[in-house]
């Protein structure tokens, strides 16, 4: 039995690259992520972390190479890939004039998941927004917006979670909450790829790290070894 028959990789890329005009933002990326694995993407600004996450989310098409999400081709099996993954990016994806509760209700209906009021309020309570459920998002701070956006990872019940700077804008309590979620994802067999500059926190929870420099993989290995590797490269 081949490996794909048994349990497809959460992410598989071969020679993946993305070009903007003549500039290659990402090139020659070979990557394999197991279900339940937590992979940290590290690297300086402009190294290609966000581009890689957006490629995996299907927001960009590869300029070179191939990629598969649980064995699926995002270009050909778009909806199946959408069901399999969630991306939380720098942007909140929120409507200022909807309330926190309405936002979750719209997402739930679009997901085709009939979520009751109790479930949605329960989710809001997890991110300490239950008391503000009927307030419009326009009055929310950056941290509150982030908490609400992060609920997509809970509502969508994905098998792969892509996080771009998941700890930014959050207070210490919010950061601990996200850390707990990521560890729970691992326990549930959900793969996580997170791009972050918060190395002290993320190297503690990630299994493996991948260092990107100028759009290419400069190093990959155990997450705990990443700080020493980055120190050497300075």
């Amino acid at each position: 039995m081949t490996r794909d028959d048994a349990r497809p990789l959460a992410v598989r890329t071969l020679g993946l690259g993305r070009r903007f005009g003549r500039h290659w933002a990402l090139a020659h990326v070979d990557l394999a992520v197991e279900p339940g694995e937590i992979l940290l993407l590290a690297g300086p600004n402009g190294s290609g972390k966000t581009t890689l996450l957006r490629l995996l989310a299907g927001l960009y098409r590869p300029s070179a190479g191939s990629l598969a999400i649980f064995g699926l081709d995002p270009a050909k099996e778009r909806l199946a890939c959408r069901r399999a993954l969630t991306l939380v990016s720098h942007d909140s994806y929120l409507y200022d004039r909807l309330t926190a509760y309405e936002t979750l209700a719209v997402w739930a209906r679009l997901l085709g998941r009939p979520a009751g009021e109790d479930e949605l309020v329960g989710l809001l309570a997890e991110v300490e927004l239950a008391e503000r459920r009927d307030l419009q998002v326009k009055g929310f701070s950056a941290g509150m917006r982030k908490r609400l956006t992060l609920l997509r990872t809970r509502l969508e019940r994905p098998r792969l979670v892509l996080l771009d700077e998941p700890f930014s804008a959050l207070d210490p309590g919010g950061r601990r909450m996200v850390e707990g979620w990521i560890e729970r994802f691992r326990d549930e067999g959900i793969a996580v790829l997170m791009a972050s500059h918060a190395l002290e926190r993320t190297t503690r929870i990630a299994d493996r790290a991948l260092l990107l420099e100028r759009g290419q993989i400069a190093w990959q290995g155990a997450a705990a070894e990443l700080p020493a590797r980055m120190e050497r490269s300075r």
Binding site: F20, R54, A57, G58, L59, Y60, R61, L79, R82, R83, T86, L87, S89, D91, S92, Y93, L94, Y95, D96, R97, L98, E102, V106, W107, R109, L110, L111, G112, Q136, R145, R152, E156
Partner: protein, 228 residues
């Protein structure tokens, strides 16, 4: 069936967002009314000339108001990249199109109760109730004919800084058939239809509505894709 539910959710979401930001609706209404007023000034106090031009001016006011409303409808989607957030969900882009286009049609329908009476008063046109209902029906068909291509082009231009200029430049040539059929039909409602021409103009208008709603639905997914 699931797509229909998603479209209904998107329409409800858009109308709720629209209602909470009523300022846009009021500003577009005011713009339409001022346009009608300026057209009447351009013709002067000749009531016969005003009546003769009333149908054209009314449809033009709808067209000009629609471009304001359409470009704003996608600005909301781009503020926090909310549209990208929708595209990341397991929703077919075609459902996003029909949700947005239906919401835009409703938005344009909301202009009718104000702009039609304003036009009737300014252009000294007297109409019985049945003809006013006919005019409302025609307004709905014209609004549908404008909002489908308008939604497509608003999506295409929403990431551009020059959207306000580009949208009418792209939209106006495309909607000439809708404009012509609407003006002719409105004129026949306002001034009478002794030669029974209305049916052919309405068939033309409905035909273009069907073409636009079908074709734009097919093209919309390409319009919202990131640069590939």
């Amino acid at each position: 069936m699931r797509a229909l539910g998603q479209i209904a959710t998107l329409v409800r979401k858009d109308l709720l967002v629209e209602w909470r930001g009523r300022a846009r609706l009021f500003s577009v209404l005011l713009f339409g009314a001022v346009t009608l007023l300026l057209f009447s000034f351009a013709v002067g106090p000749d009531s016969l000339a005003l009546r003769a031009a009333a149908a054209g001016f009314l449809v033009l006011a709808l067209l000009l108001s629609s471009t304001m409303g359409l470009s704003e409808s996608f600005r909301v989607e781009q503020e926090q990249r909310a549209l990208e957030g929708l595209l990341l969900l397991p929703v077919e882009p075609v459902a996003l199109f029909y949700g947005k286009a239906l919401a835009n049609t409703v938005f344009l329908l909301l202009l009718a109760p104000i702009l039609i009476p304003v036009a009737l008063v300014l252009y000294a046109v007297e109409l019985e109730a049945a003809r006013i209902l006919g005019l409302l029906g025609l307004w709905a068909l014209a609004a549908a004919g404008l909002s489908a291509p308008g939604t497509l082009y608003a999506a295409m231009t929403s990431r551009l800084q020059s959207q306000d200029v580009l949208l009418p430049l792209l939209l106006f040539p495309l909607v000439v058939p809708v404009l012509m059929a609407s003006v002719k039909s409105a004129d026949l409602i306002l001034t009478g239809d002794p030669m029974a021409q209305m049916r052919s103009w309405l068939v033309l208008l409905i035909g273009f509505d069907v073409i636009y709603w079908s074709l734009c639905g097919v093209l919309f997914p390409y319009a919202v894709q990131e640069a590939q």
